[in-house]
Amino acid sequence: MQLFALEKKALLHQLKSSENGLSSALVARRLREFGPNVLERAAEKNYFLAYCGQYTQFFAILLEVAALLSFIANAYLPGQGSDMLGYAILGAVIINATFTFWQEYRVDKAMEALLKLIPTLVSVKRHGEVLQIQAEELVPGDIMLLEEGDKVAADGILLAANSLYLNLASLNGESAPAFRTTEPSKASRPLEAKNMIFAGTTVVSGSGVAVASATGNATEFGKIASLTKNVRATLTPMQREIIHITRILTVIAVLMGCVFFVLGFFSGKGILMASIFALSLIVANVPEGLLPTITLSLSLASQRMARRNALIKNLDSVETLGRATVICTDKTGTLTRNEMTLKLIWLAGGEEVNISGEGYREPGEFSFDQQNESTESRLVALLTAGLLNCRATIDEVCLRGDPTELAIVSAARKKGVGVPEEMKKVQEFIFTSDRKMMSSLYQEGDKSLLFAKGAVEVLLPKCTTFLAADGSEQPLSESKRQEALARASIFENQAFRVLLIARGQKQEEDLTLMGIVAIMDLPRSEVYEAMTTCKAAGIRTMMITGDNPRTAAAIARQIGMDFDRVITGLELEGVRDEELEQMLVAETVLFARMASNQKLRIATALQNNGEVVAMTGDGVNDAPALKKADLGIAMGLSGTEVAKEAADMVLLDDNFSSIVIAIEEGRTVYFNIKKFVTYILSSNVPEIVPYILQFFLMIPLPLSVIQILSIDLGTDMLPGLALGSEKPEKNIMNRPPVSRDEKILDWEVFKRGYFFLGIIEASSAMVAFLSFLLLHGWQYGTADLADPFLHRQAMTMTLLGAVSCQLLNAWTMRSWEFSAFSLGFLSNRLMLLAMAVELVWVWALLNVAAVQKVFNTAHVPFGDLWILLPFPVILFLSHEGYKWLGRRGGTE
């Protein structure tokens, strides 16, 4: 038998405890048996080891070997600058490792936020004495004493309770206080047992005594904490991308390095020179600046998104947003305003009153479908009755209280109704989900007056009279009762929350029906347009709400959300995981009356279908689903700290439209990354080709390794970042989402980067190098130049040949498919800055002695620079032509 089903004596016997509590000796032994009452992390991350791990990635190992070979070469052939190269390569490794670590390992604070819900001190009874102890010393069998305002430290079963109400929101998301009793429960699960109290919850009112039944991780709150921990069973699309890109480029680099090592060795260069040659090729093949550029680009995107009310907490999420195929969204506050508005009133006399003005503060007008002398006074009486039975207040600065009550208070303010001074509140019978009503007892002189509001099905049977059209109280006939029920039904069908308002004497019996009010949380005005955008973008939206199916469906229709069927939480419990997955493939489902823990199931089922899921949430118990979804989105205004910490993104305005804006930004980032990966790969070819040509032809070395690094970690970085911050292309939200398995580094990127733009750049570099040498008296067949200054000048020309092409490459790469001329010259100011910086850098390479020394460059006469002009123009026009053909053929 469950502990909560036992009578007090049996319960204490089972837990080997007594009403006087445990003895000190027993507490010590229990502490050893069950451990301290703390939520523990299963796996503490060792950040030092994680950082060290970055140096064992593919790229890193390659570059480390290259650096090592450089130092070995320097030992054998000192004075050639190999040591400098080694340090430069190590610098590149450190930059890469640090950026990747920063992106992957952020401190997970969700657990810290959860821990704040557990008290530090608790009152217990031990060996007959009341003590204050540290919460972590609490053990099963301890007798816990609870007072109003206390946080509960462990799960327990009540032995005594005095009007005890708990706030269980941290466990089930319900903000209404839950009544607790000492009656043994027949529930099947602890959370349903009304004689149980739970760790992480708060005592709203009353007091109680309970025996602790579970502590630490074994509590229901411990389950939420366990689910909130990071369990990485999937990679983000960005992580997959980085692994994919790294793997492909590493294979190319190693293969090329090996082939040329073997060729070098057999052509008589010796092991050392062949090794240096091979490592130069490897360094040329590895795009050292790629990972830092990706990280910085994601970081810039996250800053742009923050300005549009989407605060990104996990950088990878920016790219994941672009792949989102399903948005699972809450209703209240996200699709709607989260401001209940009293729109309609049915007076028991038979009139209907329409109220304008949305939200709590907007002014409004009252319009009547029919009116007589007493209509106005009965309306005022009803609003006064509602106002007197509300705890909520609205003043100039803030709003306090339950949203439904705020709607009533707001309507009363619109009518200019206030609380009569002569009325003194005597007692309040609070609302609970069991009672579905509340009432307040007032004293006016020696007269008692009771005002009640609540569900129609609960309060109507308690009414015996009604406030008739002439203002008098008449017996409530069956026909009037049916009229009230019919009116409530009409309101409910229109998705209104319906409350009956009545007044009486002292008891919640023999009440007078005054009328029915219809309240609604109206949809946000901008949501309809956002929903249309989602449809065009091929993104399904699913509503998951705790509200009833009728309200949920009505709101969905109002905002243009498509759905094939409505499923309630109860129905979902009867659906197996496999059935749910199949259902979600075929249909768009609207989930109503959902408990927060069911969100996790829905997210899992959608992910098993290959969907990329964005999920919104605000409560503590939403945290597991937010963690599970590909993109957890917490509400910035109404969300709990735990939800915000568990999420990847926080919506600063709680608005659904901001999600759609963020998705647009995410898609933009995806294509921008594609652009700058292509851009960076293009410059790999003019880095590789000179080495290959030098191997096969009798020419001097056209480009040094340090010059390669100056491109990868210098000139390419800023234009790369500028491409990363390019604005959305005009059709970005009219395409289907990028699939989970689609790669950034696909054949199209390779084709454009390596085999098209890269070849033009390599041609530019080599033509510049060879033309310059030929113009200055060099003859083919002389591999070793007698004049080192001339060699440095020629190498500078190679470098400039590649850099000048990259300048216009960056400009044409601004759009993947549209003409660069259609984008506007000033629309990406970072690009202009990048180009300016690059020009300054070129000038420094040509003229500043210190720079020349480091990068092995030399001054080239202005008259020789004309050689560089044709190729950037050819590259620009060719790529524009390529895109035009693509648009014309519709291949994009």
Partner: protein, 273 residues
């Protein structure tokens, strides 16, 4: 044949004895309640516990006997087991920072006992009586016949459903290769390898479900799964680590015991001569 439960008067040992009782009832074995006298345990509490277990045993018609031993607990129990025709020993273990260090259960797990050993870690006092769902986490398809026999016996004894939770360890690089199609194919292959056990469960009338997960960390994945499901008992296979292994890393069983959310039994099959 006998089932032996080590009792020390604490709540956790009472619960371990309760599992032993249900196991004994299934096979109509005699349940031996065994206690090794030591200064830490009160004889009165031990006898009270034994009396309570005897009372419960009446309901299941299990014959009970009491044995009191003296001396160093682990060797004393081992010596007793050598001269007894016993099938399995149940003993509870307590929560420690370093879980198995110097505890009786740790010592017993390292001794070459002539019987199977079930070490019970109690997280929920009230959960034993309502055991309806049992979780059996395994690495891929690694399930021994002995563990299958033990799990199916406990499931049968409680009339509980069982879920085999097959975990495939995967680091970042492997995860990057596994798209949804490949992952499903991998899980399907594991299902096929486990099919003979699935048939066994079906023949015994035990509802069985097989679930799969890819995980970077086995223990974290199991704890995560426990938290999102309704299990009252988890059974894991005990692992005996060498002294060197124990020195360089914590036994995953010990970690799982420390953080488990539900009552957990670590099953150590007897080592054949």
């Amino acid at each position: 044949m006998k089932v032996i439960a080590a009792v020390n008067g604490l709540v956790t040992s009472d619960i371990a004895a309760f599992y032993a009782l249900r196991y004994a009832a299934l096979f109509s074995y005699t349940l031996t309640l065994l206690h090794v006298e030591n200064p830490d345990d009160s004889r009165e509490e031990v006898e009270t516990s034994m009396a309570a277990i005897e009372e419960a045993a009446e309901e299941y018609q299990v014959k009970i006997e009491r044995i009191f031993l003296h001396g160093d607990p682990a060797p004393a129990i081992q010596a007793h087991l050598l001269k007894t025709n016993a099938d399995i020993l149940f003993c509870s273990t307590r929560m420690r920072k370093r879980f198995f260090e110097n505890s009786l259960s740790d010592k017993l797990s390292r001794l070459h006992l002539p019987v199977d050993l079930a070490i019970v870690r109690v997280a929920h006092v009230g959960a034993a009586a309502r055991t309806k769902n049992i979780l059996l986490p395994i690495r891929e398809d690694r399930l021994s016949v002995k563990k299958f026999m033990f799990v199916s016996s406990i499931a049968k004894a409680f009339g509980a459903a069982t879920e085999i939770y097959s975990i495939t360890l995967a680091g970042n690089r492997r995860l990057a290769d596994l798209d949804i199609g490949r992952t499903k194919a991998l899980f399907q292959k594991t299902n096929e390898r486990l099919s003979h056990y699935a048939k066994g469960f079906t023949l015994l009338g035990i509802p069985l479900r097989i679930k799969h997960a890819l995980a970077e960390n086995e223990v974290d994945q199991i704890l995560h799964h426990l938290a999102r499901s309704e299990f009252q008992l988890m059974i894991i296979g005990g692992r005996r680590l060498s002294l060197f292994s124990r020195f360089i890393k914590e036994n995953p069983i010990a970690r799982l015991f420390r953080y488990t959310l539900v009552n957990t039994i670590a099953f150590y099959a007897r080592e054949e001569e």
